[in-house]
Point group: C2
Chain length 121, copies 2
C-alpha cells in the first residue's frame, strides 16, 4: 500500500499521521469492494501489510498519480481533509493506494515507472 | 480514534505516516471484533472518522496508556514494526485506540485525564 503525501502543504508530523490513517482505511475499504483485490488483500495481510510513504509536490501531481494508479487497477482513495487544523476544508492531503502487487505499483511510482516518486522525508 | 506515537524513536515523517496507517487498521479491525464497539464505529464513520495524533516519551508510557484505554473498554492495537527501516525488528512504535466516545478517551488522555498526553508535534 502506498501513502502519497502532499509536500507543499507543509503538514506537521501529527497531521501527517492522522491523514495517513484516513488514507489507509479509505484505500482498504475501497479494495474490499473491488472483487479483483481479494487475492491482493490476502497476500498483503499475510506478509505484514507493507506501507510506504511517498511524496508529491502538490495537488496536480497527487491527482495525476492517482489517475495512473487507478488505470493500472489499483484501489485509490484521496483524503479530503475536514479542515479543522492546518489546512482549508476540502484540501486533498494524502492519497492511499493498494493493496496491489509491487510490480503493478512500481510500474507507476518506481524508479523506472511512469511517474517515479521519492520517499517522504 | 487516537494514534499515540513514541517520540523517543525520532521517526521521520514517512515512517510515522506508515506506522499510523498500521495502527489505524489494527485498531479498526480489533474494534470490528468487539460487539460493544458497533455503535461507536457507526457514529465515528458518520462523523468523519476523527483521528488525533498524540505523543508519549517511550515504550513504558505507550504500554501504560494502552492498559488504561483497554481498561476503559477502548479497542487498542500496538504496532510492532517489522524493522526494515529506522527501528529494530519488533519495536513498538504507535498505539491505535478506538473508535470510542470522546468522553471515554478524554478520561484517560485528556487534560484532566488519568494520563494526559500532548499532541504530536
Amino acid at each position: 500500500m502506498l501513502l502519497i503525501v502532499r509536500k507543499d502543504l507543509k503538514m506537521g508530523k501529527g497531521k501527517i499521521g492522522a491523514q495517513c490513517g484516513h488514507a489507509t482505511l479509505g484505500a482498504f475499504e475501497r479494495a474490499m469492494k473491488q472483487p479483483r483485490s481479494a487475492a491482493w488483500i490476502a497476500h498483503w495481510q499475510k506478509f505484514g501489510q507493507k506501507k510506504v510513504c511517498l511524496q508529491v509536490s502538490g495537488e496536480d501531481e497527487l491527482r495525476l498519480c492517482g489517475a495512473f494508479l487507478a488505470d493500472a487497477g489499483v484501489p485509490v482513495y484521496i483524503v479530503a481533509d475536514a479542515g479543522h487544523t492546518q489546512v482549508d476544508p476540502g484540501t486533498e492531503t494524502v492519497l492511499g493506494a493498494g493493496p496491489a502487487p509491487s510490480a503493478i505499483i512500481d510500474a507507476v511510482t518506481g524508479p523506472k515507472g511512469t511517474m517515479p516518486l521519492r520517499l517522504l522525508n
